[in-house]
Symmetry: C2
Subunit: 468 residues, 2 copies
């Protein structure tokens, strides 16, 4: 609960209309896309500009009130659940595309801009903002920056981090800093731009971003390769890249995922095969045609039972949309959907898929696997029911083993979803004690009162794993 | 001076052969490529592996002895001058390419590997490591990482930061940490990989790096566009990119630079024009041909007096080599060469070149300008004499004005050379007081005893600017 003093002070900064501590208002922001971490904030605050953000942060620092900056809450690591109360900071007023600079190929945006709106805004100018998380229709750039979101085009084009070249941010002490700029190169001091990208709101509040754009690729082709053998599909992935072709998209869906997605999207996906690869290449027409022909060859050499090129853009878009709908589709299976993103070097995809299937069997769980195979970034997804305590115990153990396997194969516990609350207990698997201590030192240096999204990234010793 | 205790302890770690505190030995490492910051270390130490690095660092931390990690000392910010004494750490034993992984497209290397050796090692496998600082024949990967080095291919391919995907490093407390891995994506915790890249040896000692490789472009073409009008050359740069073409290389040389380089390299460079652009495109043949034709058109529209395509690879290589030799060539002009790298948004290149020329005239100085025009990264270079105090005062004032102009145009004080000692007094221009305070907080959190390359990045209040 906020004291009356604090409440009045916040209202005097943001105006009464932008402060909400009603039960309903708080309930709306008590959860995000991650199951089982619901927790009530004390208030929901919507600042209108960076000065207001700065004043609110300074006040929260003084009174040691947690701040949870939040975009659309589509993250999958409970990164925006107000697990320690405090205020949820919304950016509904700070949602403008401030500039698209066609000479420097940059966009300057406020954090509340919806990802797809930005992509659409630059398209007519022949420009391209590649990061495309599956939630891009509703996710915001601010959220994408905090989580360093990936997407289907990550293999060729990289992730959000690769497109953020400048930031304006409010530090926990209320200071407003700017980093980078419309600059292809900048080595003036530590790379705070990239330190803040992916810091999950635990170091600062992003109030503006300068994003790099690239020329829109001329053309794109989309292909489905079908397999009766999981391992053959996985091997195709590394063989395509070892052939020196970097496709724009190289996605994997196993049979259980395919069935569920087809049932949801009804676009005629094959459901009688063990796995498919959704492959896209973009660029100049002649290059795309050559690459796709070579990719088709590789897939056939690796025992694809069929390789089909989408014949129209509508067909291609249907395939992409189907892939993007995987989480929504899987979510219909059972009351609780746990979607993970253990990531391995791409050479280890086949071993990892096998390991996941073995673990699912061992714990008698229904785990579907899909994901960004080209990035080694898999999404093993478990349809379960959080009310079934016995099953949840097994889910917990299974995912712990999956993370351990990923690390054993040279991978990481999260490729693009972030650590949040959910994966905090596993972070040490990847970073070791020394790595965690170093990160904590940075956190404490910038946020000594631990007001910025507390409870995220760093685990409490007592924390129970995954979900309880 | 190291105490006998410390000396004996270091020798017991690295063996007597790898410890040198002779006057000659120390003299060799008392300077780097930056004029006027010579300063003697107390000893030169060459550890043989990460454990030895860790033990030496721990010892230095205990006894508060400065550590200056050093590659080949080719940096231009006095980043490796032991201005506060202590030990210089060499990596002559840690200079192996440990692995080139053709399936994951990565190389794993020790810090002492020479940049060009790595480039040559991966080439026969059809792979490409793009960062190519002009000093790449002798610079090391460790040095490149610490300085986040750029190069001629930065426009299209980015800089060192964009290719470092994993690090092993020793923190000031002696802890060995690993970050990232052979992973296209990893969001497990703060981005320490990129925090360490470009941190100029002030946060940790890099002991191993995992680098991203990309497929070698099929073909490359090289072009010279000649101008009798500086501004026309500069405008061509932004117009090429605004036409949605990102050349691999887009370099600018003004007439004074051209004359000096031709005198040095003798390859028949035109010296009767006001400026040239050296333009390269790589990729599939048909794309390169189309892009180069379009680039030639743009240059002609922008009043290039001549556009010449290199007819052979030997001719192209001569042009690139000439460009890379600019610093060496300019260094022959006068006893002291001050090479800077103020950087602006590329749309501001014309204004910046004009501003530099105006400032040179105002202070009656001989300033040549060349650089990575496509990146907005210019190298105004002053041939001077550090013994001429009157002139050095003017040089100092001129560069201060150049940095201020760069900031005014939305730029930065350093695009690729780093801050080091030399530009520390100007860092606040770019970051502001709050930005510096935040970076200092991170520095102090990881290196509370300030043993890691002290005096670099952060200015002492009393410090005189540029050179004294």
């Amino acid at each position: 609960m906020l004291s009356n003093t604090v409440k009045e002070k916040i209202i005097s900064i943001v105006s009464p209309a932008n402060f909400d501590d009603s039960k309903t208002g708080r309930l709306v922001y008590s959860y995000d896309a991650t199951p089982n971490f619901q927790s009530m904030p004390d208030a929901v605050v919507s600042p209108r500009n960076k000065q207001e953000v700065s004043q609110v942060v300074k006040l929260c620092n003084e009174f040691q009130i947690p701040i949870v900056p939040r975009g659309s809450g589509t993250n999958l690591c409970a990164g925006t659940c107000p697990t320690e109360g405090g205020i949820v900071l919304l950016f509904k007023h700070m949602n403008k595309i401030l500039e698209v600079d066609e000479e420097n190929l940059t966009a300057t945006v406020q954090p509340g801009v919806v990802t797809l709106d930005l992509i659409h805004a630059v398209e007519p100018k022949g420009l391209f903002y590649p990061p495309d998380p599956s939630s891009m229709k509703i996710s915001t750039i601010g959220g994408n920056i905090n989580e360093n979101s990936g997407g289907l085009r990550g293999l060729k084009y990289g992730v959000t981090r690769d497109y953020v070249i400048g930031l304006e941010a409010v530090l926990p002490n209320g200071d407003i800093i700017t980093t980078g700029g419309k600059l292809a190169k900048d080595v003036a001091g530590y790379d705070f731009t990239r330190l803040l990208v992916g810091s999950e709101g635990t170091l600062a509040v992003i109030t503006e971003a300068t994003l790099k754009l690239i020329p829109m690729p001329e053309t794109k082709q989309t292909m489905l390769a079908l397999y009766q053998d999981l391992e053959a599909a996985a091997k195709s992935v590394s063989k395509i890249i070892a052939s020196k072709i970097i496709p724009a998209t190289l996605e994997f869906l196993d049979q259980p995922t395919l069935k569920v997605v087809e049932d949801f999207a009804k676009i005629g996906l094959p459901t009688d095969v063990k796995a498919v690869l959704l492959i896209e290449q973009d660029g100049p027409r002649e290059v795309v045609e050559r690459d796709m022909a070579r990719i088709a060859e590789v897939c056939k050499e690796e025992k694809a039972v069929s390789v089909q090129l989408a014949q129209t853009e509508a067909e291609a878009e249907a395939l992409r949309t189907a892939r993007r709908s995987a989480l929504s589709a899987l979510a219909r299976l059972a009351p609780t959907t746990i979607l993970e993103d253990a990531t391995v070097p791409r050479s280890e995809i086949a071993r990892m898929v096998n390991a996941i299937n073995g673990i699912a069997e061992k714990y008698d769980l229904n785990i579907c696997t899909f994901g960004h195979a080209g990035d080694g970034n898999l999404h093993p997804t478990c349809a379960t029911d959080s009310r079934n305590h016995d099953e949840m115990e097994r889910v917990e153990k299974a995912f712990a083993e999956i993370f351990e396997k990923a690390i054993e194969f040279g991978g990481t516990i999260t490729g693009e979803h972030g650590v949040g609350v959910m994966k905090a207990p596993y972070l040490e698997l990847k970073l070791g004690e020394a790595g965690i201590a170093a990160m904590k030192a940075v956190k404490m240096a910038l946020d000594p009162n631990n007001i910025m999204n507390p409870g995220k990234v760093f685990a409490k010793d007592s924390r129970k794993r995954v979900v309880v």
